[in-house]
């Protein structure tokens, strides 16, 4: 089977999966209570509640409500976000770019550090650097992100005053245009080093917090894969034919060790996006995670549904991409077998 055929097959399954996910999530969110909750005040009369239900179409049977919502999605209307006080589609892009920027920064931190540390430890098995790296990876993956975030805030925000919270300095943000919504990219496009520095400065703490656990996972995966590969016969053969150890490691062992690691990285990006909830709340990052948390607490189901749809599409897409990369990395993989 060709990659093209494989792609087509996977893309055809995608809508069916999405419909299934949307029905399940729609039903589950309604079990948690009516979406009318977000519009209610403590002192509303039943008649006023009925007026609101009529206004938002919540007096219709559940299947009718689902079809209305699904129809809206197909026409580009994801509903009204009671939390954002705006149509979901009007705010989704800005929230998404803020989160994507944070997750990408965290991903860069995690991948760079994870692969470097994993390689470093794996190539020095059972020596001091290896032990130290393992200590880091165990503690990194077991440390709760909210605790780590507060720790960083206390040290670097309250006491040292090095890093701020939020996404930007308001004045610097306002000094450049934002065609993409990604602050770092926009600042580069505007040629503003001040804005770029501001963007990076605001990204450091949340990206470190968000990337910590993923760094630890990638480090462990990279290390164990590398250790395994270094024991393979082809590595002995490479050494036997006189290749320097550095090249044996980089050209042969590390390349093969990257295959399972890339799978983990792909999955981790999805988890990074989900992990933004706590980080965005604590660091005042105006992204999807914080929006979602607020939506869940206040019963803003249009926002919850939009988020679930988005993450479903993202996970399915990332998985697809990982499968394709996997195939490219290891040509022995026969698609469809």
């Amino acid at each position: 089977m060709q990659i093209r055929d494989y792609l087509i097959r996977r893309l055809m399954v995608l809508p069916i999966l999405l419909i299934g996910v949307s029905i399940i999530v729609f039903t589950l969110t309604r079990i948690g209570g009516s979406p009318i909750g977000i519009y209610l005040s403590h002192e509303m009369t039943p008649e006023e509640v009925e007026q609101l239900e009529e206004r938002y179409g919540l007096n219709e049977p559940l299947p009718v409500q689902y079809l209305a919502w699904a129809g809206g999605v197909l026409s580009g209307d994801l509903g009204w976000s009671g939390v954002a006080v705006a149509p979901v589609t009007a705010v989704f892009g800005d929230k998404l770019t803020a989160t994507m920027e944070l997750a990408t920064a965290a991903g860069i931190v995690a991948v760079t550090l994870g692969i470097t540390l994993g390689t470093f430890a794996g190539s020095r098995r059972d020596r001091l650097p290896d032990h130290l790296t393992r200590v880091f990876s165990v503690s990194g993956s077991s440390m709760p992100d909210f605790w780590f975030a507060i720790l960083l805030l206390i040290v670097f925000w309250v006491y040292l005053g090095w890093f701020p919270i939020g996404r930007s300095d308001p004045a610097i943000w306002a000094s450049i245009a934002h065609p993409t919504g990604l602050y770092t990219v926009d600042s580069l496009m505007a040629g503003s080093w001040q804005a770029l520095r501001d963007a990076i400065w605001h990204l450091i703490l949340p990206a470190m917090t968000l990337g910590l656990a993923t760094t630890a996972i990638i480090t462990r995966m990279m290390r164990s894969s590398l250790v395994e590969e270094l024991n393979e016969d082809y590595v002995d053969a490479a050494r036997a034919k006189g290749l320097p150890e550095r090249l044996v490691l980089k050209r042969h062992a590390r390349r093969n060790a990257l295959i399972p690691t890339v799978t983990v990285i792909g999955l981790s990006f999805g988890f990074l996006l989900q992990g933004t909830v706590v980080v965005e709340i604590l660091y005042q990052w105006p992204g999807m995670g914080r929006w979602l948390a607020d939506a869940v607490l206040r019963g803003d189901q249009a926002t919850i549904m939009a988020y679930v749809l988005f993450t479903s599409v993202l996970f399915l897409t990332v998985n697809l991409a990982v499968d394709i990369i996997y195939a490219y990395l290891d040509r022995r993989v026969v698609l469809g077998s």
Binding site: G33, L40, S41, W157, I165, A171, I172, L297
Partner: protein
């Protein structure tokens, strides 16, 4: 063989460290104020509205030139006709809109706002029959859109709210009492009431829903449609206040700019209200100097007490006691299956009195409120007209409670009843204190505390009938006892109807008669005499357990000047126009 020269890994690491160091050292001292500190978009001119952008802190200035308040929740609307009392939008409405009469900074005294005088019978602005109020409108006041205030705007604003009559809003406050609004001339507004009301000025004219909006701005942006939200006004206030909304970055912040053409004493400093729902972040931000002020409750005092540069203000009592409701108006079998009581359970005044005598007030106030609170007589919060230290107040008396439970015939058999509360706050704690108090009195008395997310609680709370026999919340912060009585005490009032108080009171007509009479009595002394008669009746026949009343608290940096706080102002009970730093 690869012969290219490779950069050693340690040197790449050095580059990364150097970049981080540059970021650290330069970022902390950035003091950019943008284009002369101007916000990117402002109201002003031709009904133009502020931008409501997403994705960043547009506008504003560096935090050194702006007063930053950390708020714990987001507004859903800043339209006076749509806002719910106590909701986050009231914070903004208080700053950007004005009313004819305002509550002054000191206590409950009323001061002129957009009207030049506070109407009284003595000054002739209230008719002898107490039905007609005349408001002389201030001359030379301009809205944020540049149009001039006239009596037409006032009439339009009130009529608008009553015509829209949005279920989430508070239009009923006006509609229930206003019979007619009239423009006498450009600078004279007259309102006729359907019946005399002692609380009209305190509770209605000063309320957010009575804020004055620009007629031109509304008409240019959707006008008024009965039962429909005006989406423009939802996000774009056009008032006459000392501040104008310059940006609303949803989920991030509100930015309020000093309104240069304000008719009165102008505000001193621009304001940014950061939406910081996480309590730890707000506390750390205040300690770090990132925020200048935050609203606190007693549970947060230990985290801030003694912090360098932080001052804690402790003032009068809030006017929103935490209370636990008794509900009898539910259908048999509609309560949670664990509950063993029927609708007649709380109809017995002995049981309601016994509950009131069992609750550990001292423990709740000393523990949950950190000693910053007090007990409340039924139902007159401290600071409100009608309050007297002489009124009887419930205290824990387990022996008396046992006697009442025995007399009611439930001591041996016991009971189980569920109480709902919003999770993670003082209301949940109050419910837990009730549970522990009852269990300590008699292990056969089981209170099940059901802590719910806000939306779930609101849904249950707004149901008819309420599917629980007990719930915990605080009262709305009413400025006048009549509004409070009608909401929570009157047998045919708001909660009186929901809970079935007419069936609960021993003499509902007497209670209703006193409340109604006091509500229309314009002579304050006579009114106080009526409340004096009412107070012991409410003590003997309690409709609530009033767990306690919090002290008004605020935490701010010691650089803040001009600090004033009045619990009668919508939360967080501050007006930024007084402040500077």
């Amino acid at each position: 063989m690869d012969t290219r020269r490779r950069t050693p890994q340690w040197s790449r690491l050095l580059v990364v460290v150097a970049l981080l160091a540059v970021a650290c050292t330069s970022g902390g001292t950035t003091e950019t104020t943008g284009e002369d500190g101007e916000a990117p978009t402002t109201t002003g001119g031709e009904g133009e509205a502020p931008a409501t952008t997403e994705g960043g802190d547009e506008g504003g200035e560096g935090s050194g030139d702006v007063f930053v308040h950390a708020a714990d929740d987001e507004a859903t609307t800043v339209d006076p006709a749509q806002v719910e009392p106590g909701e986050g939008g009231e914070t903004i409405i208080t700053q950007v809109y004005e009313r004819l009469i305002e509550v002054g900074p000191d206590g409950p005294d009323l001061v002129p706002g957009l009207a030049t005088e506070v109407p009284t019978i003595d000054n002739g602005l209230i008719s002898e029959d107490g039905l007609t109020y005349t408001f002389p409108i201030r001359e030379g006041v301009v809205f944020h859109d540049g149009t001039e205030l006239t009596a037409e705007d006032v009439k339009y604003s009130w009529d608008r709210a009553m015509t829209m009559d949005l279920p989430e809003g508070n239009a009923g406050l006006l509609a229930d009492i206003v019979a007619e609004t009239n423009v006498v001339d450009d600078l004279t507004f007259e309102v006729t009431l359907s019946e005399p009301s002692a609380s009209f000025l305190n509770a209605v004219v000063t309320a957010s829903v009575a804020s004055i909006v620009s007629q031109d701005a509304v008409e240019a942006n959707g006008g008024v449609v009965a039962g429909e939200v005006n989406e423009f006004l939802t996000a774009n206030p056009v008032g006459t206040g000392a501040y104008e909304l310059t940006a609303w970055n949803r989920g991030e912040n509100f930015q309020l700019g000093v309104f240069e053409d304000y008719w009165g004493t102008p505000a001193n400093i621009d304001v940014r209200i950061d939406i910081a729902p996480d309590t730890d972040t707000r506390i750390l931000g205040l300690r770090a100097g990132e925020y200048d002020m935050m609203e606190i409750d007693p549970s947060l005092v230990p985290d801030l007490e003694g912090a360098e540069g932080v001052e804690i203000y402790s003032g009068e009592f809030l006017l929103e006691p935490i209370h636990i409701g008794f509900n009898t108006r539910f259908e048999e079998g509609s309560l949670p299956p664990e509950d063993t009581i029927g609708p007649d359970f709380f109809q017995d005044p002995l049981i309601r009195r016994a509950f009131n005598l069992t609750f550990d007030y001292e423990g709740f106030i000393a523990g949950a409120l950190g000693g910053m609170g007090g007990t409340v007589p039924h139902y007159f919060p401290q600071g409100m007209l009608g309050y007297s230290e002489d009124y009887p107040v419930y205290e824990q008396d387990l022996a008396a409670a046992q006697a009442l439970f025995e007399e009611a015939g439930v001591w041996d058999e016991g009971f189980t009843v569920s109480v709902i509360a919003e999770e993670g706050n003082l209301f949940e704690v109050a419910a837990l204190v009730l549970r522990d108090s009852m269990a300590a009195l008699n292990p056969a008395f089981e209170i099940r505390v059901l802590a719910q997310a806000e939306a779930q609680f609101d849904e249950a709370h707004a149901s008819d009938p309420v599917p629980y026999a007990m719930w915990v919340k605080n009262s709305d912060p009413f400025a006048d006892p009549d509004a409070l009585m009608n909401a929570y005490i009157h047998p045919d009032g708001e909660w009186g109807t929901v809970h079935g108080m007419r069936e609960m009171y021993q003499d509902p007509d007497a209670i209703a008669g006193l409340i109604d009479e006091a509500g229309t009595e314009l002579d304050t002394d006579a009114r106080l005499a009526l409340y004096e008669e009412l107070a012991p009746m409410l003590y003997d026949d309690p409709m609530w357990i009033i767990a306690g009343n919090e002290t008004a608290l605020n935490a701010h940096r010691d650089t803040v000047t001009g600090f004033v706080m009045n619990p009668l102002w919508p939360r967080p009970s501050v007006k930024f126009a007084f402040y500077d730093k």
